[in-house]
């Protein structure tokens, strides 16, 4: 095994990868932009190197600099995490050319899968059904409108090099097309350095179900069960679970085997995810391959007792998989909620800022992968995810009950989050019955204008306390002064008389 691993990422995923590295006795080398000088992924590293200014283009997307740091630090391998350079085949190639190990799929497979259009073609070739759409990237608004007319509105604009919902737009009519197309192009360029957009038929109310796979260099491919990720806002998953509430063992086997076939045909190894849309009749359509570790990988891990990053590292250094398909025996149900700094009452606008108080959930069957701490300022430059909250239970009901408990004890002040919004979702009757689809949240009315009475009580108390403190400085019950207010000496003496009789 290697001695040092550079994690070319930030936030919770850099920490999560660093944890596995340490578990394996590997040093975790972090990189940071100037905006991340004292981010948690730096504080928890073995050694950290500056990669550049705050903008991603100059820091976490700066291939030359990252490879140079790996060499300077004596790291033998680079793990790209998700986002940033994780699906960039050129980066993978350059890492390999520099004599380092890229912890991910081979560049050729990445290139194939990274180009959504080529991936579609391969899927069609091996007999995996796909959604109707444009075969090539769309170069102009006019061409786009023509293709969209042919497919029929509504259509979905997608970044060819994209992922994570960025550069993605639903267009329901011709009038909306021009503006949506330009925004999608600009977002795609900013996020992936490539503005190519393609168009797909927009299937109404599908489920998003994906199959996790792991493969070694020797042709062994194993599917690790599906995740249902239909709860999305702005085309970004926010609640993911495994198994899917509608999946049958037969369908799971079909989908798993389709995924394995595609992965084999692509010459792909390491961890990866094959995403499908599932319609009301449980027909599934290939969507794309995420040629990397995914945000939601923990829901698979906690059911299997597996560490996917450990498996990635093993495959990356050339080991064979230590298990085969029949060894995969998932236990119970797992569900994840992504906690972002955002305002659900205001179209999920990001809400960066200083975290003034933080107490994250803990306890039985709760896993929190967090990237922040009390006193940390969430920067404006990056994806505003704070943490992932993963709950496990024997049944879906038990997993949901635990997730709700964890959401109820999640306290973060200073920035807005969608914690309340998550609670409402998992209390929703249709959600509880598993009747979900990717448009679920569009139909979900949410207002944060609840609990005004509690807020009024809290506000009035704090206001009058502060006014009183200003006028008479009468002192408040702070931790530092509790000691005294409790009449410690006297109480202790009372206590001892009793003890000593």
């Amino acid at each position: 095994m290697i001695q040092r691993l550079l994690v070319a990422n930030r936030g919770e995923i850099a920490i999560r990868i660093g944890r596995t590295a340490r578990d394996m006795g590997i040093e975790y080398i972090a990189i940071y932009s100037d905006a991340d000088r004292n981010a948690l992924h730096v504080l928890l590293s073995d050694r950290a190197y500056r990669v550049g200014p705050p903008e991603s283009e100059k820091s976490y997307l700066n291939m030359d600099r990252i490879i140079q740091i790996a060499k300077d630090a004596g790291a033998e391998a680079i793990h790209p995490g998700y986002g940033f350079l994780s699906e960039n085949a050129e980066f993978a190639e350059r890492v390999i050319e520099a004599g380092l190990i890229f912890v991910g799929p081979p560049p050729e497979a990445m290139r194939l899968m990274g180009d959504k259009l080529q991936a579609r073609k391969l899927a069609q070739k091996v007999g995996v059904p796909t959604v109707p759409g444009s075969r090539e990237g769309i170069s102009s608004v006019e061409e786009g409108i023509e293709v969209a007319r042919k497919i029929g509105f509504p259509v979905l604009l997608k970044a060819a090099m994209g992922g994570g919902g960025k550069g993605m737009r639903v267009v329901r009519s011709e009038e909306e097309f021009t503006s949506a197309f330009k925004l999608a192009q600009a977002e795609a360029l900013g996020a992936f350095g490539d503005s190519t957009i393609y168009i797909e038929k927009f299937i109404e109310n599908p489920r998003h179900v994906e199959m996790q796979i792991i493969a070694d260099r020797y042709g062994n491919v194993v599917y690790l069960g599906e995740r249902e990720c239909s709860i999305q806002r702005r085309h970004q998953k926010i609640i993911e679970e495994s198994p899917s509430p509608v999946m049958t063992p037969k369908k799971r086997k079909e989908m798993g085997e389709a995924a394995v076939e595609l992965i084999r045909a692509a010459g792909y190894y390491n961890a990866g995810t094959v995403e499908f849309l599932v319609d009301k009749d449980l027909n599934f359509y290939f969507l794309e391959v995420n040629a990397r570790l995914q945000v939601e990988h923990p829901v698979t891990e906690v059911r299997l007792g597996m560490d996917l990053v450990k498996e990635q590292l093993r495959v990356a250094v050339g080991e064979k998989l230590g298990f085969s398909q029949k060894d995969i025996q998932p236990r119970g149900w797992a569900i994840e909620a992504r906690i972002y700094a955002e305002d659900p009452a205001n179209n999920f606008f990001p809400s960066p800022g200083l975290i003034k108080f933080l107490r994250e959930p803990q306890g039985p069957y709760i896993r929190v992968d967090s990237g922040v701490y009390q006193g940390y300022e969430v920067p404006i430059y990056y994806d505003p995810m704070l943490s992932k909250l993963i709950a496990w239970g024997e049944t879906r009901q038990e997993a949901l009950a635990r997730l709700k408990r964890a959401l109820n004890e999640y306290i973060v002040f200073g920035i807005k989050t969608a914690i309340d919004f998550h609670k409402r979702i998992i209390e929703d009757e249709r959600f509880r019955r598993g009747e979900i689809h990717t448009g679920f949240l569009n139909e979900f009315t949410y207002t944060s204008l609840e609990r005004k009475k509690e807020a009024a009580i809290a506000g009035t108390l704090a206001y009058t306390r502060k006014s009183a403190a200003i006028s008479v400085d009468k002192g408040e019950c702070q931790p530092e002064s509790r000691w005294k207010t409790l009449g410690r000496e006297l109480a202790l003496k009372g206590g001892i008389d009793e003890i000593l009789g």
Partner: protein
């Protein structure tokens, strides 16, 4: 002591009384025993309302402006001493020009209207970028763009007035 707690037009009368050394709060005719403690010196408190803990964060500006964050929801309110007859006081809703404020810190990447432009409800006004997300800020009501207070390329804070619509 009686207070009027106003949430942008809608409000409650809140009365705080001391009784035998315990504090009670009366809201909508319901009286509850309350105790308040500071958890830290950064504005984090816990109130016990009939024994039920309510952890919150309060930012108190001058003039009775209070921002309260419960663990799951944040509310902005105005607190004033209530002097009229119980339940009678109402805030006069401001009917002047609509100020379009920035909902977050970020970068103005596009300004899509000019002063004097006539807009419908939903007309895109400004594109704001933060954390790699581009967000269109749309007109909340029809009107004429009056003042345009920001330019493309400018950084704004949460609450910065971007423009006004009359």
């Amino acid at each position: 002591m009686r207070y009027w707690v106003d949430f942008d037009g809608e409000g409650f009368e809140v009365t705080i009384v001391e009784e035998n050394g315990t504090q009670k709060i009366i809201l909508n005719g319901e009286a509850k025993e309350v105790e308040l403690f500071k958890i830290d010196s950064n504005g984090t408190y816990v109130a016990y309302v009939d024994g039920a803990p309510l952890i919150f964060h309060a930012e108190i500006s001058g003039n009775g402006e209070v921002k309260v964050s419960l663990p799951d929801v944040t509310h902005q309110m105005n607190i004033v001493k209530s002097v009229g007859r119980s339940g009678e006081r109402r805030r006069v809703v401001d009917a002047g020009p609509a100020k379009i404020k920035s909902p977050m810190s970020g970068l103005i990447v596009d300004v899509m209207v000019e002063p004097g432009a006539s807009v419908e409800k939903g007309t895109p006004l400004i594109v704001l970028e933060a954390m790699k997300m581009r967000n269109e800020i749309k007109a909340p009501r029809p009107g004429i763009v009056k003042e345009l207070k920001v330019n493309k390329g400018q950084t704004v804070e949460t609450g910065t007035v971007l423009l006004t619509i009359e």
